[in-house]
């Protein structure tokens, strides 16, 4: 009793308690970011260019932080989801096309996640005809039969597992001196492949659906504007987690695959190739990380998609609702998973094409969503005194502009990276 009293009255402890009650949305979103597609991009980048692309993580971090912070702020101030705000401010037509594209892109992305499940389990010696349906059923049950609190706890534990990449990278015994030099003095090549790879790295970090997810989960948590600073920390931590995991994936592939001149196309190739070079443990940890990331994103992605589609078109949504209260929501969620699973289980499915096309769709959507966000967050009638200040606007617009240019480039060169 005394201890509890002490904790409750000590301001430092009190802040820590509040922080732990608020933490979640940022870290979860940051971790979902390193999904199967992300891991593939990082692995390929590490295998092909060694440490020379590590510097891109710094601008990626800034872009991610800027965008996520805006979403958190909009969610806290308005209590409305991003889909709601876009529908109310830009009308039904823009909303409809954004969501049709998002839906298609997210189905493609979900298929990529299940491909990650299949690939990682394959490395561990389990057939995809067993692993993929089982993973899909587990995901479905967690969301439909579980509740928000439980899901969030499971997700947070997932995030911790992603640090298996750190161990995997350390087992690869990288040369830290070279890594330091590569980050501080980036060597930028001007050839097309290199630039496409940079675009892929930044682009995989800031995906449009994450913005909707971030904003909704802040609302679901009921965070007050007074606790904004804690949410900001949550977002910062999430972004750091994203970048740190990405860093170690690149490092482990660079130290082994690149050093030995091995080229890969998929993340699971990296996991298999690690075996002879860094030991079975490193290989299995890499595969395990890929598995966790894939299952994690295969849960959140269909959920988030179903959620904001329903939000935009006025259907009831939320995992705390019963099926009969939110039939469209649950049907959509189930359908997205189902299509994703079926695509993976078809023998010889054109996986790489699907991945590329969903990335291209993301690339088209991202600028649209970002511009909508920038317009909304600067409206006084919506954000009151919490609109962007000059600094935030400068960072926001520059980030949007760069991401738009990157997306356009990706789109026109057609070099979508897996």
């Amino acid at each position: 009793m005394k201890l509890v009293e002490t904790i409750k009255t000590n301001p430092a402890f009190r802040n820590l308690l509040i922080f732990f009650s608020i933490v979640g949305p940022g870290i979860i979103t940051g971790s979902v970011d390193n999904d199967a597609g992300g891991i593939t991009t990082y692995s390929v980048a590490g295998a092909k260019y060694g440490y020379t692309l590590l510097w891109t993580l710094i601008p990626s971090f800034i872009a991610l932080l800027t965008v996520q912070e805006m979403n958190a702020r909009m969610g806290i101030v308005t209590g409305k989801g991003l889909a709601d705000l876009i529908r109310e401010n830009f009308g039904v037509k823009i909303t409809f096309y954004i969501f049709i594209f998002l839906l298609v892109a997210d189905i493609g992305n979900t298929a990529t996640e299940f491909a990650g499940v299949a690939g990682s389990m394959n490395v561990l010696g389990i057939s995809k005809y067993l692993s993929v349906p089982l993973a899909a059923i587990a995901v479905w049950i967690l969301v439909v039969k579980g509740n928000y609190k439980l899901s969030e706890k499971v997700f947070l534990i997932f995030s911790v597992f992603l640090f298996s990449y750190v161990v995997s990278a350390l087992l690869a015994k990288p040369d830290w001196g070279v890594i330091g030099t590569a980050i501080i003095t980036p060597k930028i090549h001007m050839d097309r492949d290199y630039i496409a790879m940079v675009l892929g790295l930044v682009g995989t970090t800031v995906a449009p659906w994450m913005q909707f997810y971030m904003q909704s989960s802040v609302i679901e948590k009921g965070i007050k504007i007074g606790d904004y600073k804690f949410t900001l920390w949550d977002v910062v931590l999430g972004c750091i987690a994203t970048v740190v995991v990405a860093f170690f994936i690149i490092v482990s592939c660079a130290a082994t695959l690149h050093a030995n001149g091995i080229q890969i196309e998929e993340a699971k190739d990296a996991a298999s190739a690690l075996g002879p070079l860094a030991g079975v443990l490193a290989s299995q940890l890499f595969a395990f990380g890929l598995f966790v990331a894939s299952v994690f994103s295969a849960t959140i992605l269909p959920l988030a998609t179903a959620f904001y589609v329903c939000e935009a078109f006025g259907f009831e949504a939320g995992i705390d609702k019963k099926f009969s209260d939110a039939p469209q929501f649950y049907s959509l969620f189930t359908l997205i998973i189902l299509i994703g699973v079926v695509i993976i289980l078809i023998p010889n499915a054109p996986l790489i094409t699907i991945t590329i096309w969903s990335q291209v769709l993301n690339a088209i959507l991202l600028p649209v969503v970002l511009i909508c966000m920038m317009v909304i967050i600067n409206k006084k009638e919506i954000m009151e005194q919490y609109t962007n200040n000059r600094f935030q606007n400068a960072v926001g617009w520059i980030t949007s502009l760069i991401l738009i240019l990157l997306s356009l480039f990706l789109l026109f060169t057609g070099s979508g990276l897996g």
């Binding site: 509740n147 006025g314 705390d320």
Partner: protein, 433 residues
């Protein structure tokens, strides 16, 4: 030929229609919104908001300039420069239909939920003589309305006829049965005034769901429009974390009134989560007795029975007769939450026994409490663990349990609901979602 025609028209069909000067057949501009008065049951259109080439801001053209036509292809008006007004000169009581409602959320007062407006259906009344009238009568919340706005309705209708052998169904709600969450006036100001009479029929649990579905501002506006008792019972149904968030957006005086109407134990839970500044502001606004009670319960808080104890209970003296006690129950029934048990105490408030309401009704009115009361009591103390209390409830099938201090003096009661809620907090949230 009929002398008067009545037909329906959608707002989405009117928007962007050209506005034509009837005398010269010249295009004046195109329509961007409608201004209406909300004085009557159905909003009546009083003006067109028209985008004209000559000015950056749209202008206001009064409805009485409009010629009686079907409004399908264009809108014919009797144009004169004097009839056109800038926004600022118009009546603040008029609201903009598109800006206020289209794509926004409304509360369906019969469906008891928040809906999103896909379109508005207007009724055009064209008398043989004089100007036509245009009323807002229905809110379209269906898929068909959505498809119409996207321009796909014909396409999907073919599918629907083929697959289901019928046209797509419309889904309308009468304007009588909706409550806007905010309205934009012609002059540009945003109002968040709600009509409590439309909401008073909704059950607090449904109101709670509605509150959860709204944005922060609308939530505050909704709760502030309700009377304190209704708002308090709706708020009680909302999960605590959201409740705290809402409480902090309310005006302090409103929040104090609300807390005054909330059951003590729930009020303590809420106050304990609020920031110290708000908490002390609330304490100052409440009566000293209430504040003392709240503080007393709060001080006891964390993990023990004290945190869920309710000080709202009925006592009678050992010497009182059944008749006296029934009379007392009648008087107290208004303010007491739980009427099942009357606790019998001696002059020092030490708990001696209990009688049930059923006993009182069945026994001789002249019998005294000491003779009829149950003396073998199961009690809890403030330190008793809540889980243990829950077990007692399961074992004995009580509805409430008395709490006594070390000397046996009555302190309060715990209801089964409160114990259940503490042991299974997630169940409460599930039940409400």
């Amino acid at each position: 030929m009929i002398s008067e025609s009545v037909n329906f028209i959608f707002l989405s069909e009117l928007l962007n229609l050209p506005v034509i000067d009837a005398a010269t057949s010249r295009k004046v501009g195109s329509i961007v919104d409608l201004a209406a008065t909300t004085g009557q049951v159905f909003p009546k259109v009083l003006g067109l908001i028209v985008k004209v080439r000559s000015s950056k801001d749209p202008v206001y053209i009064p409805w009485n300039c409009v010629r009686p036509t079907s409004l399908r292809k264009n809108i014919l008006i009797d144009y004169s420069p004097e009839s056109i007004q800038a926004h600022a000169n118009t009546n603040d009581g008029e609201i903009l239909l598109r800006k206020s409602f289209l794509d926004k959320q409304l509360i369906s007062t019969t469906g008891h939920k928040v809906v999103r407006v896909n379109d508005l259906q207007l009724l055009l009344e064209s008398p043989t003589k004089g100007n036509p009238y245009l009323w807002l009568v229905h809110v379209d919340i269906g898929i068909k309305g959505l498809l119409r706005r996207l321009g796909f309705v014909g396409f999907f209708n073919i599918f629907s006829r083929f697959l289901l052998d019928r046209d797509l169904r419309e889904k309308f709600i009468s304007w009588k049965n909706v409550q806007p969450t905010s309205t934009a006036s012609v002059t540009g100001s945003l109002q968040l005034k709600l009509d409590p009479s439309k909401l008073s029929e909704i059950h607090p649990a449904d109101l709670a769901d509605i509150v959860e579905d709204l944005g922060l501002e609308e939530r505050a506006a909704l709760l502030e429009s309700l009377d304190a008792a209704t708002a308090a019972s709706a708020l009680q149904e909302i999960p605590l974390r959201i409740r705290v968030q809402i409480a902090e957006t309310l005006e302090t005086t409103k929040l104090a009134a609300l807390i005054n109407e909330t059951q003590l134990d729930e009020a303590v839970d809420l106050l304990d989560e609020l920031s110290p500044e708000i908490r002390s502001a609330i304490h100052q606004l409440l009566s000293p007795e209430k504040t003392a009670e709240l503080k007393e319960l709060s001080k006891l808080s964390v993990y023990g029975v004290g945190s869920i104890m309710n000080t709202d209970f009925m006592t009678a003296k050992t010497t009182q007769t059944v008749r006296d006690v029934i009379e007392m129950v009648r008087e107290e029934s208004e303010k007491t939450e739980l009427l099942h048990y009357i606790y019998i105490v001696d002059t020092e408030m030490k708990l001696k026994g209990v009688v049930t309401l059923r006993q009182l009704l069945m026994l001789d009115p002249d019998a005294i409490m000491a003779d009829i009361m149950w003396e073998n009591l199961v009690t809890a103390t403030i330190e008793t663990n809540v889980k243990r209390v829950a077990k007692i409830f399961f074992k004995y099938n009580f509805v409430a349990l008395p709490v006594v201090d070390d000397d046996g003096v009555m302190q309060g009661i715990i209801t089964m609901r409160d114990a259940l809620e503490t042991v299974f907090p997630e169940m409460k949230e599930e039940a409400h979602s």
